[in-house]
Structures are given as C-alpha cells and as structure tokens.
C-alpha cells in the first residue's frame, strides 16, 4: 500500500519567545505521487521540519489542507511513519521492544512477529534485539528507529534529516539501506535533507525551498537510472544545478554589496 500526499495552500505561523509572529510556511502547494521518493532541501530554518510535521499531523497547518490519498490529515497516524532527526528510541526498552512498539500499541504484535524479525534483519541488527539503546552506536540506533517507523507498513514515510547525525561512511551505507527499503516505490518517501549529494543520489524529485517563509523555488526531476553513481557527469550536473538554485534562493535576502 502506497499513499499519495497532496499539500494545498498550506500556511503556518509560529509565535516566538517575544510574542512576535513568525511566518514559516506561506501558501505552499505540492503534490507527491504514490511510490515516489521526494527530497525537500532548503536553507536551514526555512520551515522544512515544520512542513514535514504538518504532514505527519504533529502540528497541523494554520491554513490550507494536507491530504493522504483522499483523506484530510488532522492528527498523527501510523499510516504516516516518521523518522526523527535524533533516533528518539525509548531508553527503557530493548531494541526489539522499541521496534515493535507501534505493533504492540495497536494490538497486532502477535500476528506480526515475523515482520519485526524481517525489519531487524533488514537494518542489520540481529543479535542486538535484547540490547538497550545506550549500548549501541548512533548509527545502529538510527537504523533501529528506521525499522521502528517501517515495521507498521506506513503508506508514507517522512524522514527528517535521518542521517544528519551520522559520519560520512555510515551515511552512504544508510542511504543504500533506505533505498533498498523503498525498493523502487513500495512506499512513498519524503525526506528532508541539507545534503545535495544525498538528495540527488536518492530522489525522483528534489524540491528546493526558499528561505522563510518557505515557498517552493523549483522542483527538479532527477532522471537518472538507478543505482546511481555519485561521480557520473549527469549526477554532477544535477548537483551543480541544485547548488545554483540554493545559492540564488539564499542570496535573495542578502545585501547587494555582498556580491
């Protein structure tokens, strides 16, 4: 089961500590096809996490609507999995119990034990089922948290810089792991990243966002065959193009004498 996400004229305003209003999302519309892999990229603080959390239903948008297939999103639900930037595993639960948390919460653990095993295998954590999060490395915890988000078979997986805290080597491995899980479109994936290489390597589409209030600057279709090679001429061309857009988007607000 895969899901399509439709974002319609979404706006969001926060109030900061001084009580001033902070417009974070402004009239943002975007459609994400079922089974596609889409990356959101943009300057830090522009509202990527805010958008992703709105899709998850963790803090709903003030204006506009978000649809999963034909249903309006109003609150969080297991059909929209979320992988947080920090692994956020429960320190009092073993890895196995962490991964199966959602299944247990929904009362379907008994029938899905095989799934738990399958995902523990997939993220390479067999042998660590009984370990506690503090006994594992950051990368292993992040993999466990991916397994936790996936084991309930969400229609859409939302990833908020899931690899941001990992070292470069682990990171590249994990990119392949995530692509393996995505498996050409078995699940819709929406990933926030600040790494252009990562976006080009993984995505069908890269959505480049403007500084706050976030709007969509441009959507780039990555028409490269998979598996992709990071040193290909075309790969580098996409990379340069996105960097140019990002630069352009980033410099809009900067004074002229900078140039």
């Amino acid at each position: 089961m895969v899901g399509r996400i439709k974002i319609e004229n979404v706006g969001k305003t926060f109030e900061n500590a001084d009580g001033e209003e902070l417009r974070v999302l402004n009239d943002l519309s975007l459609e994400i096809e079922a089974g596609s892999f889409v990356s959101l990229i943009g300057p830090s603080g522009c509202g990527k996490t805010t958008l992703l959390r709105a899709i998850a239903g963790l803090n709903p948008a003030d204006e506009g609507k978000i649809y999963l297939d034909d249903e309006v999103v109003t609150k969080p639900g297991h059909e929209r999995g979320f992988a947080f930037q920090q692994s956020n595993l429960y320190p009092w639960l073993s890895i196995e119990k962490n991964i199966s948390f959602g299944l247990r919460a929904r009362g379907i653990y008994k029938d899905k034990k095989e799934d738990v095993k399958h995902y523990i295998d997939m993220v390479g954590l067999n042998g660590f089922e009984k370990s506690f999060p503090h006994q594992l490395s950051g990368g292993m915890n992040q993999r466990a948290s991916l397994a936790r988000a996936l084991v309930g078979h969400p229609k859409v997986l939302l990833l908020d810089e899931p690899l941001g805290a990992l070292d470069a080597f682990t990171r590249m491995n994990m990119q392949d792991e995530i692509l393996k899980i995505w498996n050409g479109g078995e699940i819709t994936m929406i990933m926030v990243t600040h790494d252009v290489d990562e976006a080009v390597y993984m995505s069908d589409k890269v959505v480049v966002m403007t500084p706050r209030p976030a709007k969509i600057e441009q959507i780039i279709d990555i028409k490269l065959a998979r598996p992709r090679a990071r040193q290909d001429y075309d790969f580098l061309k996409y990379r340069t193009k996105i960097l140019e857009i990002l630069n352009f988007a980033g410099q809009k607000n900067e004074p002229e004498y900078y140039l």
Binding site: P91, A105, Q135
Partner: protein, 317 residues
C-alpha cells in the same frame, strides 16, 4: 600491595585492639553491673565474620575487593565503639544514667529479644499498610495531575497546601477522628508517603521529553497506551526519588505515631523505656531502628537496580 593487605586486615586489627582494651581495663565501679560481657561477644562475632571474609579474600577476587573496600570502614566504626567503651564503661567520664556501658546496651538485644521481635513485626506491619495506602494514592494522584489538566488545576493547590505540613502535626485532629490510634497512625504514615510520591510522580511526568509522545503518536499509540507505556516508564526515575523521600519520611512518622497511642512497636518501646529512664534500652532500640531503616533503604536501591537498570548507561549514580 602491602597497603592493600593492610586495608584488608585493618578491621581485624581494630577489633583486636578493642578486645585487648576491654580485657585489660576493668569496668568503672560507678557503672551498674551488666549481666554479661556482651560488647566483647559482639566484637568476637564481628571478628569471626571478618576472619572468614579475610580468609576468603585469598581465594576470591570479588571478596578481596569487598573486604578491601569495607574493612577500613569497619575498623573506624569499631574504633569509635572502642573509644565509647573506654569513656563510658571503663572510666565512666559521663553521667552513667544517660551513658550506660556498651555491655548493657548490647545485652538488651538478648534480654529483650522477644519484645524486639514483636515490635519489629508490629512496626513492620504498620509501616507496610500505611506505606502501601500512601504509595498507591500518591502514585495515582501524581499520574492524574501529570496527565489531566483539569485534575491538575484543582489538585495542585491542594497538594501544595497539605503536602508540606508534617504528617504528625495532624495527630491532635486525627486521634479524635479515628476510632483507634492504630488507624490514626496508618493515616499519618499514608499522608507522609502520599505527598512526596505525588509531587515527584507528577513532575516526572510533566518533564517527559515531548518527542517521546510524538514518536508514540506517529506509531499509532492511543492515549492510555501513551500514559502507561511512555509517560510512566519515562518518569520512573523521578518516581523512584519520590519513593525514596517517602520512605525516609515514613520512618519519622512511624516512630512518632507509635509514641502517641500504640501498645507495641519500636516507637512505643523507645518512649516507654525513656519514661522509665532505661537508657541502655533506648540506645538498643535506636540501634535496632537504624539497622531496620538501612535495610529498607538498601532494599529500595536493589529494586531500583532491577527496575531502572536502563538508566545506568545514561545517568551516573
């Protein structure tokens, strides 16, 4: 190496010194005569245990570490008793009424063994009932305040007003409200336990990282599942602190409450012996109380090790 050996044997040396002094210096004639040389027997028992430990330390690394760590402490403790023995029994430099000889103090454990046992059972039962009621109510109110805004609005002020009042200060009121003083004692102990557990449980829950609940939300957990499987486990370290404060507080209340109207119990015993000016018995009662309280606290920490083992890697304690 030599230093470690000395550490291991220090306890035995201190005992040998105490035995020697006890043998050589005669008891002051001002001290009422004791029925036996109970301090000496005490020293010999501890000495025997230490000797066994010392011999075992040659065969087991774990025992060796344990003895090495604790032997100096025991040596110090024995030295203090040794000094007390010299000052009180041997030369009776202090008023003998208030400072009885150690032989007499330790003798009480033999002469009053029967009544001590009944006191332990009675106090234990009273503590258990009071603590049980207070803990259940305290934990429940804590959870409700932590999770329910309306409940918190009405009960937070109540907790803040009632909580800090020492439970025993209710005694004039409580003794006339309840039909038996036993019930009154249970009530006061429960009250003294209820407050710290309520406060530490509710604050523990309110301080749980928001993301823990968000993770549960995105995994499809319902409200009650989030309360019982996220909120409560995450706040257990704080709940434990509440139990710790409650335990120490309950000892105070227990002893005080027993002094008021009970016919048996450690508090009653202390009060009774004091009114008869039998200070050797008072000291023995206090020693008994100290040993029991320490045992209970120790038990609590064992429980914490079992329940909160996951904390070890996160918090140093």
């Amino acid at each position: 190496m030599v230093k470690n050996q000395f550490k291991r044997i220090s306890g035995l040396l201190s005992i040998a010194l105490a035995v020697l002094i006890d043998q050589v210096i005669p008891v002051s004639p001002k001290q009422p005569e004791a029925k036996g040389r109970y301090f000496l027997y005490f020293l010999l028992i501890i000495g025997a245990l230490l000797t066994v430990g010392y011999i075992a330390s040659f065969f087991s690394k774990k025992t060796a570490d344990y003895i090495e760590k604790n032997s100096p402490l025991i040596a110090g403790g024995i030295l203090v008793l040794n000094i007390v023995n010299v000052v009180c029994s041997k030369f009776s430099l202090l008023p003998v009424l208030f400072f009885p000889s150690l032989d007499r103090v330790f003798g009480v454990f033999i002469s009053d063994a029967d009544i001590f046992l009944r006191c332990i059972v009675s106090s234990g039962k009273l503590l258990l009932i009071g603590f049980g009621i207070g803990a259940v109510l305290g934990f429940t109110t804590g959870v409700l305040i932590g999770f329910n805004k309306t409940f918190a609005y009405w009960f937070n002020p109540l907790t803040k007003i009632i909580g800090p009042i020492p439970a025993t200060s209710w005694s004039p009121l409580v003794l006339s409200l309840f039909s038996t003083s036993y019930q009154a004692a249970v009530f006061m102990i429960a009250l003294s336990v209820w407050f710290p557990i309520t406060v530490m449980t509710s604050s523990g829950i309110q301080n749980v990282q928001q993301t823990y609940f968000e993770v549960a939300d995105t995994l499809g957990a319902g409200k009650f599942y989030k309360i019982f499987k996220v909120g409560i486990p995450a706040s257990l370290p704080s709940v434990f602190l509440g139990f710790f404060y409650a335990t120490t507080g309950s000892f105070v209340t227990l002893v005080t409450a027993e002094m008021f109207g009970c016919k048996i119990g450690i508090g009653w015993y202390l009060n009774w012996q004091k009114s008869m000016m039998l200070y050797a018995n008072v000291y023995a009662g206090l020693i008994l109380l100290a040993v029991l309280c320490n045992l209970i606290i120790k038990l609590l920490f064992v429980l914490r090790g079992k329940l909160l083992g996951w904390q070890k890697g996160i918090i140093k304690w």
